[in-house]
Amino acid sequence: MAGGGKAHLRPIEDVLISAQDVVVEFPASRGRVVKAVSGISLDVKEGETLGLVGESGCGKSTTAKALIQLPPPDSGTVHYKGEDLTQLDAESLRQARTDLQIIFQDPISSLNPRRRIGDVVAEPLKVWGPSDSASQVEKVNAMLEAVGINPDDTRDKRPHEFSGGQCQRISIARALVLNPQVIICDEPVSALDVSVQAQILNMLEDLKAEYGLTLVFIAHDLAVVKNISDRVAVMYLGKLCEVSGSDALYESPAHPYTELLLNSSPIPDPDVALSTDLVEQGDVPSPIDPPTGCRFHTRCAYVSDRCIDEEPQMQKISDDHYVACHHPLASVANSAGVSV
């Protein structure tokens, strides 16, 4: 898109989280600015899993962290249960954050290597939980069991004694100890083998059902995102491209960037013809100096003059399917003279 607009947002009273016009920028060398997130609006209903997908550097983690005000966005609002987190004082924000937990990509290094597993998982409780240590231990044990790890065997061990998949489950247990409502999963499976990835995906589905969680799930692989998400938002260079219920997105992708991602996803079937034309694709442009108009125009096969000048806005193309593109796929405007 990479465009703006909020057509895809649902009534604010129907959603648990609603982020609007979120902008996050970082200072770069020589007075320049990294435009990591440039006006993103997203919402998540209670009990829903929102998938956020896009290439490295497109601002997925920055968006996720902005939701929990780490750091707060440079502008825009983030409503959680009707309250604007960007306006809260430090103490109220700390309270609200216990409801919103985040887990990270690299399972081993995101856990403190010098601490025992029991302490790692109990850490959030030291600040927020019950003060007596017996109920803390009880809580830690329950959460380790919930992620399929035997607490008696593991409490006194340290993170390096576990595999990547087990470390990821330990970080999920840690995120769960405060009974959060929302878990933001920032590429929790990208560093794992396919076999372990399946365990984590299944486990997140189970925990979600058991604890009534709401999930934001970040990944760069569309097949993984589809498996776990109810609704998917596709991101490119700090902007949203397409938002849709997950099955519809895959049946009829409307944004050229979604199509590119779909064509890149590895398919475990030797008879499916590979799109072998994807060799030349250059790098994602720098977020310091993003392209004008539609930010995807430098890589888009359907680019027109309009795309270079004018930023597309999010528009509805069917029920719960929104796209920010001047020439969405499978529409009349697009079929005009474009091959591929």
Binding site: E55, S56, V147, G148, I149, N150, S163, G164, G165, Q166, D193, V194, S195, Q197, A198, Q199, L201, N202, M203, E205, H220, D221, L222, A223, V224, K226, N227, I228, S229, D230, S246, D247, Y250, L260, L261, L262, N263, S264, S265, P266, I267, P268, D269, P270, D271, V272, A273, L274, S275, T276, L278, V279, E280, Q281, G282, D283, V284
Partner: protein, 371 residues
């Protein structure tokens, strides 16, 4: 792609026979590679697939004679173009590296020197092996950078590795690997650290270069999705051994080994509806320092029967060019029977596959009370 089943008139480029690489550690002997044999023909592409720790990297590094540390013991034989690689002095190996066999690693920084400009690095082997002039080297480097689709190759000649993205660095390391037109390229998880889009581009690039140069290629990965459609033949490794080997189409269409089947079923597929329950493999690969009786996959296998815990199955031909090491191969009535028996008994490793349950402890063969 070369035809994997017959190779009329061709002599194999690489013959690996009963190769074993063991590491002596305090806890015992780590059998990282344990009796691996295969052949590779000129221009052929081979996929080597298995979970982390199955021995893929050690196998590749053993064949290449790359350093594996002081505690290593290797046996068996590796013949490449009629030279016995394991017997060559390292000084002769250095003549083969880069020039006849080249390697691309998971982390491109492994093969790149952080303080040398990429243009210079690309032609290092060529200058060493063929002694060309500075001007010739520059032209060749630019040509190579263009061939791996580095945009503005001329301007990039003077860049340092840290100035490039991960995908671009991997392109540079491929350019280095291709510089001397090797006959064989080993790519060890060349795209595991990259985005799906960049992964797709890099795999396309490797495939294109492989065909243009008629080079043999070994593509190592943990994801069967990566090698489908990109290889002639596939070897599936588990605990240092080959458990299944066949043409790519056979592996997918007539999957025989339960481990291969489990790997395939654990991959989320784009054409499945969302929230499809994935088949999770119970437990983790075995500790290779413990010697295990029977089939090494037995603790995790959904079909395992008593025989599997006692006797190790040999790699045997099921059909021409389809090898598998299993007592109850997938697709046979015996396999179906074993499945039903285990399901009925509530065997945890079977339930993991059936319902996607997460099972870590696979030390128990059968739930107590059953036999």
């Amino acid at each position: 792609m070369a035809d994997a089943t017959t190779h009329p008139g061709d002599a194999p480029l690489l013959v690996v026979e009963d190769l074993a690489t063991h590491f002596a550690i305090d806890a015992g002997l780590v059998r990282a590679v344990d009796g691996v044999s295969f052949e590779l023909y000129p221009g052929q592409t081979l996929g080597i697939v298995g979970e982390s720790g199955s021995g893929k990297t050690v196998l590749a590094r053993t064949i290449m004679r790359l350093n594996l540390g002081g505690n290593v013991r290797t046996s068996g034989s590796v013949r490449f173009s009629n030279q016995s690689l394991l017997d060559l002095p390292i000084s002769d190996m250095t003549k083969i590296w880069g020039r006849e066999i080249a390697m691309v690693f998971q982390d491109p920084m492994t093969s790149l020197n952080p303080v040398v400009k990429i243009g210079r690095q690309v032609t290092e082997h060529v200058r060493k092996h063929f002694g060309i002039s500075k001007a010739e080297a520059r032209n060749l480097a630019i040509e190579l950078l263009q061939s791996v689709r580095i945009p503005e190759a001329e301007a990039r000649f003077d860049s340092f590795p840290h100035e490039l993205s991960g995908g671009m660095r991997q392109r540079v390391s491929i350019a280095i690997a291709l510089a001397c037109n090797p006959k064989l390229l080993f790519a060890d998880e060349p795209t595991t650290a990259l985005d799906v889009t960049v992964q797709h581009q890099i795999l396309n690039l490797l495939g294109m270069q492989q065909q243009e140069r008629d080079m043999a290629m070994v593509l190592v990965t943990h994801d069967l999705g990566v090698v489908a459609g990109r290889t002639d033949e596939i070897i599936v490794m588990y605990a240092g051994k080959i458990v299944e080997q066949a043409t790519t189409s056979e592996i997918f269409h007539r999957t025989s080994h339960p481990y291969t089947e489990a790997l395939l079923r654990s991959i989320p597929k784009i054409d499945q509806p969302s929230h499809t329950r994935l088949a999770a493999i119970a437990g983790r690969p075995p500790d290779l320092a413990d010697s295990l009786e029977g089939c090494s996959f037995s603790p995790r296998c959904p079909y395992a029967q008593e025989r599997c815990f006692e006797e190790e199955p040999e790699l045997e031909a099921l059909a021409t060019d389809h090898l598998s090491a299993c007592w109850y191969p997938v697709g046979t009535p015996e396999n179906q029977e074993a499945w039903e028996k285990n399901l009925l008994a509530g065997r945890p490793s079977t339930l993991a596959i059936a319902n996607g349950q997460i099972v870590d402890d696979v030390s128990v063969h059968l739930p107590s009370g059953t036999s």
